[in-house]
């Protein structure tokens, strides 16, 4: 015989019918009706898919960024998920532990959102406006360039080099950003110019 007894079977056997029915009458029987089996709702439904490249190492894995909202359509968009692009020849949809967690870097609590300035000797950053920050920078650049630009060397050869201001370029910016940066930095005569390639 089936050793698992159905509830009704048990009631018959135990003769506890009275108790049980009265409980049933009090509506306790409902407790048994369990939530239907279901899987979690698929979270990418109705998101926007955008193809991008992982920002970390130079394997340059293809990634798919899923956002709520569509930037291309001029909407405000926030990243909800990132995973590998299965069509990409190099990573074939796979991602490493860094790439698989890219979303948390985009949404990191330590992401910068406003220009800030730390005054000499101060123990904190204070918020500032882009205007103030950029004007300050431009002024500092011009003053130093005018003061320290080396126009000719001892031999009188024009050298037009500016050594007292330095610029470290990034390692994850686009080629386009890099080219614009190059133009700006070189046109000023800065030679203390370098990037992450050295490390």
């Amino acid at each position: 015989m089936n050793i698992d007894l159905s509830r009704r079977g048990f009631l018959k056997l135990a003769g506890a019918g009275v108790a049980a029915t009265s409980l049933g009458a009090m509506g306790f029987g409902e407790a048994e009706a369990a939530e239907q089996a279901h899987v979690r709702a698929f979270k990418l439904a109705s998101t926007t898919e955008v193809r991008n490249t992982c920002t970390y190492c130079s394997v340059a894995c293809g990634i798919l960024i899923y956002s709520k909202g569509d930037v291309a359509a001029g909407e405000k968009a926030e990243v909800v998920h990132i995973e590998g692009d299965a069509d990409h020849p190099t990573n074939r949809g796979t991602l490493c532990p860094k790439g698989a967690a890219l979303k948390d870097t985009v949404l990191s609590e330590t992401r910068l959102t406003v220009p800030r300035i730390r005054r000499p000797g101060s123990d904190r950053f204070e918020e500032t406006s882009w205007e103030e920050a950029l004007d300050k920078i431009a002024r500092a650049l011009k003053d130093d360039r005018d003061a320290n630009m080396v126009q000719t060397n001892d031999a009188g050869v024009p050298v037009n080099r500016w050594t007292s201001t330095g610029f470290l370029a990034a390692s994850a910016t686009t080629n386009e950003t890099a080219w614009l940066t190059y133009k700006v930095v070189r046109s000023m005569g800065i030679v203390g110019f370098d990037n992450q390639a050295r490390v």
Partner: protein, 329 residues
């Protein structure tokens, strides 16, 4: 490479997820077993059995699976301390459904050092101990494709699943008091996607598909390992639990315990079987019998009454008894 999500199987981990809304292809109708629900109607359709194969010989222990798992399931594992090990978090948690376990092994035969790395997590047993142990109707279900899933609305947090599991997998949350473990990304599988870990795995040490295809793939891997001198390479798909829907290729299949104590011959503990089987039945029967017995006795045997005679005897006894004075004592 994206598969038609309406194909129930085989599914590929290496495809891009759909973004158009679609109906989950895995639901109540596909449940073959549910905890504490003995008389379940047989599902009208039978899905192809799926499986996740973990080839430890290809695994580089990069934890992409852990990362992808947390991202997909929106869990936030705690930032712990380093305790001198590579395992982080240090164990499975309600927020970390899978974990790379590392063991350093000096092979006595070859004299070589080996770093054995195993992805730990729910094995999705064909005969799930958690489901057997669970007292809450429908809190643990098994779909016809083999996935064992927790339905958290029904979970009462008693921890019986922990007791029932032969692999020490489920973890009960201290915050919402519900039990958590790998779902084999049932939500992804339901729309024709493979689990997040299998898709992310850089070396494809984790692959996902129809179980028979996975077995075939595993056999190829075993052959390759044998050709590289691992005579004992083999598949870990333990019989004791009726086989699993997450299984391994091991270079030392003869010694699974080398891989951070992977059980040699896992099975649902006889103690648990006893508890959930005989005890349950015979216990209830005994209680029922006792109740019925007493009722019958009550009905048919005469009650044990005190007679008026005995009341008088009592009064007489009281009168005749000489009070003992304390000072005389």
């Amino acid at each position: 490479m994206t598969m038609d999500p309406n194909l129930d199987s085989p599914r590929t981990a290496v495809s891009n997820p759909p973004i158009q809304p679609m109906k989950a292809n895995l639901g109540a109708g596909d449940v073959v077993r549910a905890s504490a629900m003995p008389n379940l109607p047989k599902p009208e359709r039978e899905l192809t059995k799926v499986a996740k194969l973990i080839d430890v010989s290809k695994c580089i222990g990069c934890k992409a699976c852990q990362s992808a798992c947390a991202e997909w399931n929106d869990t936030v594992p705690e930032v712990e301390h380093n305790v001198g090990l590579y395992e982080n978090p240090h164990d499975l948690t309600p927020d970390m459904f899978t974990l790379m376990r590392f063991s350093e092994y000096e092979n006595p035969e070859t004299g070589d050092f080996e770093w054995l790395i195993r992805k730990d997590g729910c094995m999705h047993c064909e005969d799930p101990g958690c489901l057997k142990a669970c007292p809450a109707p429908g809190a643990i279900v098994q779909y016809s494709n083999g996935i064992v899933d927790f339905i958290h609305e029904n979970c009462i947090g008693c921890g019986y699943c922990v007791t029932g599991c032969p692999f020490d997998i489920p973890r009960v949350s201290k915050t919402d008091h519900k039990s958590y473990k790998c779902t084999l990304c049932s939500d992804r599988v339901a729309v024709g996607q493979g689990p997040a870990c299998a898709k992310a795995c850089p070396t494809q040490a984790i692959v996902f598909g129809a179980k028979e295809d996975m077995i075939e793939h595993a056999n190829m891997r075993v052959a390759d390992l044998k050709s590289r001198g691992y005579e004992n390479a083999g598949i870990y798909d333990p019989e004791g639990v009726g086989g699993t829907h997450v299984f391994y290729v091991l270079h030392h299949a003869d010694k699974p315990q080398l891989y951070s104590d992977l059980p040699e011959d896992p099975r649902i503990s006889p103690v648990v079987r006893g508890w959930k089987g005989m005890t349950k039945t015979i216990g209830l029967a005994a209680i029922g019998a006792a109740a019925v017995g007493s009722i019958l006795h009550g009905l048919f045997a005469r009650a044990n009454r005190v007679s008026a005679e005995e009341e008088r005897e009592a009064e007489h006894l009281v009168e005749s008894s000489v009070p003992v004075r304390s000072e005389e004592a």
